[in-house]
Every structure is written in C-alpha cells, then in structure tokens.
Amino acid sequence: MSASTLAWHHYRLERKMFWRNPTAAFFSFVLPLIFLVLFGAISSAENLKIIVPGIAGLSVMATTFNALANQMTFLRDAGVLKRMHGTPLPGGSYLAGVLGNAATNAGVQVGIIVFASRFAFDLGWPQNWLALVVFTVLGVACFASLGIAFSHVIPNFDAAPAYTNIVFLPMIFISGVFYDVEQVPQFLHDIANALPLVHVINGFQAAFVTGAGLDDLLSDIAVLLLWTALGVWGAIRGWRWDSRNG
C-alpha cells in the first residue's frame, strides 16, 4: 500500500468522524453562516462588501486553525496519536488525511459563501477566481500549520477552547472581519497587519469585490508565506505523539 493510498484511507475516516460529531460540524460550518445571515440582514450593500470577504477569512481560520488546534490536542491527550504511531500507517499519510479534512471544510465554506454572495446578497460572482483559489489555499496552509503548531502549546484538552479563542477572537476583531479595517486605531492596525488574517481577507476582498490582480497582492502573499513557514517549523519542531515526555 502506497503512502498516498493510506492518506486517502485516513482522509475518509476523518470525513466520517467529522460528520458524526454534530457539535464540531456546527461550530465550524453553521456558525460562520449564521454570522453571514445576521450581518447580511442588518448591513447595507456597501457593508456587505466588507463583511463577505471578512466572513470568508473567518471561516478559513475557524475550520483550520481552531479546528486543528482543538482536534490535535484531543488526539494527543486521549492517546489516539500514540496508538496511530504504533501502526504501519506512515506519519505523513496520517497528517495528510487530517489536513485534507480541514482543507475540505475550508473549501466547502468558501464555496457556500461564494453562492451566498451571488444569490443572497446580490454581490455577483467573484471578480477574481484565481485570487479566490490562491488565498483559500494560502489561508488553509497558513492557518492549518499554525493550528498544529499551536496545539503543542496547549497543555491539555480542557484548556483547548480557551487557548484557541484567546487567539481567534481578538484576531477576528482587529482584522476587520465585521468592519473596514481602516477604521481601527493605528496601533491595532499595525498589529493586525503583522498577523495573517488581515492578509487572507485582503485577498478575498480582491477576489469577491475589487477584482484586483495577484500582482497587487504580493505583500499579502509574502506575509502569508512567512507565517506558513513559521507554522510548519513550529508544527514539526514541537510534534509529540504522546502527552507525556520521553
């Protein structure tokens, strides 16, 4: 059996487990959609042009960073990772299955938002499909690697929601998910610009609203690649199969 066959084998298990856990499915799927509906209902057409890309960025982060930080902490704490480590399943195939699952969730959510913005909010189809794909992929790579790296910092599963939310909530508030990022005070603006979410949202802004080309988004791409490199480094460096030391 090749490593890719085994990765597919594990991906299918992850999908099955995802749908069988209604709370996880709810928080990573339905919650961003509820945001979308609520803000759609109270927002002007101009505001929607801010909120649709913002919710798309939030969704990518929630389905990768939050989901993986929680999931990997649980799997490590409960000893599932250790159990997997004793099987012939290659570590890379296992991880590919886990990441594939998160990427699928992110992709499906972005897809739902694309349809919602066309049919529910009359924003039309995305202006730049290439930017949509590029920033979905970059956002997933960046937040997935950071999510796994962050799980190494979380001491145990009970603490996982608190740890992820202390990163997630401030990040979505300063990154202009719900309002124009230009409105926030300069120092918060600077902090937000150093963090990855703003740059994913910038990319989605171009994709959904302005139609700006990728050459206008090079600095956003650069920041995201940097954070991805940091995330991959942290994910690998802190990796443990076990909740104990040894």
């Binding site: 084998h9 487990m17 409960a78 599932v80 250790k82 012939p88």
Partner: protein, 295 residues
C-alpha cells in the same frame, strides 16, 4: 520452546530520563510462540522496556532486536508484523467498533477477517456501538481487536487486565490463551502474580529497572531453596520455621509428638509460591523489627 532466532532479544538495555535511570541493564529473550511476562510493581521499568521494544522510546544503551529488526528505527515492515495494546489509549469517539476494526485492517498488507477478529475478542454484539459508549472492559477488547487485525506474529500487551473485574479478567485470559494457541509470541506486563502464573511460559521479575529473577513461573517458586514448615506445639502455639532440608525437623516433631502420645496438629510443609518469591524480591528494604523465630 524453539531454539531458533528469538522473537525478542534484549541485552543490557538501559534508559535514562535526565538523571534518573529507569532501566538499568535488563536482559531477556523471548522465543517464537512463547508467552513471556514482565512482572513487577508500578514504576519498575516494565512499561519503559516495552515501549522501547514497541518503538515508542529510544533506548539510552544496549542491544534490542524485535523479529530481527531494531525497533528504534521504526521500520514499517516491523510495524506490520506486531500488534500493540498500550496501557491506556484513547480512540476516536465517534467511530463504531466494526468501522474501527475495518479501518485498521486497511493499514496492513495481510489483515485478518474483520468480523472474525471481532468475534475472537467477543465484541460481536457491540459491533455497531460507538467506541465512546463501550465499557472499560469492552474498550480493552477493542484495543485487542485492533492489535490482532493485522495478523501479527508478536503481540505486546501492557497491563492488559488492569482495572478489570474478576469475570472480565478471566475472559481476557481466555483470549490471551487463544493467541498462544494460534502460535503468536506474546510479551505482556502485569503486576498481578496470578496473571503471570496463569498465562506465562516464562516470567522475568523486574524491579528498579533490573531483572531480579527469571524462569517458568513454577520453577521460580521452587528454585528458592527453603521449605516452610509450620505446626502447633505442645502449648498450642502456631510455629513456623524455614529449612533448606526439612527432614530432621519433621523427624524431631513427629517423634516428639509420638512420645507425648499427642497428635501433631496443623502440620504443613510448603514450598514458597511465586507470590512469596515475588514479595521477597520486590520488598522495599525497611528496618525490620527484631523477628521472633520459633524455638
């Protein structure tokens, strides 16, 4: 016992965690088809030893060979041929028993029949239950099913019955005997003597990272040189004495009783059981109060 290459070979195995040396030079061999037990109190170094053999931990020094491989390299060819039941181990909470076993089967080149393995561990009635709804004993049986699905030559069982009620233990023992009948090599750790005695062809008693004694459970007891003789003396007091040869003492006791014309009551002559050997070997050294010995 086969005289071929051992399934497991351990020579002068050492493992340190910082300053603390958890395993301090352990040696043993396990022949193919043998059920071998590592017996010892908690913290003796049993789990560390087994986890080195399973490839979870790196040894600090010594030679280790499992089915001819060095487990430290974690070769996939080795992982395909061993089954592991860890001491405590979680599971995906939303997976059903049969799904889990079928998923595991997909990782091995020559997996056994899924339903047959579920039958062997006695989970047929629970095959459609979610893993998180299983009782402790049932979850342990699922662990065993996942360890057996790849048709391993060698099975590691780390404290397979800890926390079981007596009935569940008996059932687990039956399953382990079944493995033995199938010709599997089994390495198990336990701190239950009766378990070692009931299941193992050979046992090594481990404490403080060393092997204190090893051999078949029956000979470990009798290898100790002394007999224990106890009887009730003419004042009605129960006495006990340990003798390497009980003949003179027995002669003296019986002739004394005959001379007095009294029966010799509560006489027993016993050899130490594995339990006695174990307790003696693993006893914490403590200042003993001056012991009163029989006349």
């Amino acid at each position: 016992m086969s005289s071929g290459t051992p399934a497991i070979l351990v020579r002068d195995l050492r493992k340190s965690y910082g300053e603390f040396e958890a395993v301090r030079g352990i040696d043993f061999e396990v022949a193919p088809g043998e059920v071998f037990g590592l017996l010892g109190p908690n913290g003796a170094g049993k789990t560390t030893t087994v986890e080195i053999l399973e490839g979870y931990r790196r040894r600090s020094a010594g030679i280790v060979s499992v089915l001819g491989f060095d487990p430290g390299d974690r070769p996939r060819a080795l992982r395909e041929r061993v089954g592991i039941v860890l001491q405590s181990c979680g599971m995906y909470r939303h997976v059903k028993v049969r799904e889990a076993v079928a998923y595991w089967a997909g990782m091995y080149p020559s997996a056994r029949d899924v339903d047959e393995v579920i039958e062997i561990v006695g989970l047929t009635e629970k095959r459609d239950a979610l893993a998180r709804t299983l009782s402790g004993g049932q979850a342990r049986r699922l662990d065993l099913a996942l360890a057996l699905i790849g048709d391993p030559e060698l099975v590691f069982l780390d404290e397979p019955t800890t926390g079981f009620d007596p009935a569940a233990r008996r059932a687990a023992w039956e399953t382990i005997r079944r493995l033995q009948e199938l010709g599997k090599t089994v390495l198990l750790t336990t701190h239950y003597l009766d378990e070692a005695q009931a299941l193992c062809d050979r046992v090594a008693i481990v404490k403080d990272g060393r092997v204190l004694a090893d051999g078949p459970p029956a000979t470990l007891g009798t290898a100790a040189s002394h007999y224990r003789v106890s009887w009730r003396d003419e004042h009605g007091e129960l006495r006990t004495r340990e003798e390497s040869d009980p003949t003179p003492l027995l002669h003296q006791l019986t002739s004394g009783a005959l001379a007095r014309g009294e029966p010799l009551r509560d006489l027993s002559v016993s050899r130490p059981s594995l339990e006695d050997v174990y307790l003696e070997l693993t006893a914490e050294p403590e200042p003993e109060p001056a012991e009163e010995t029989g006349a």
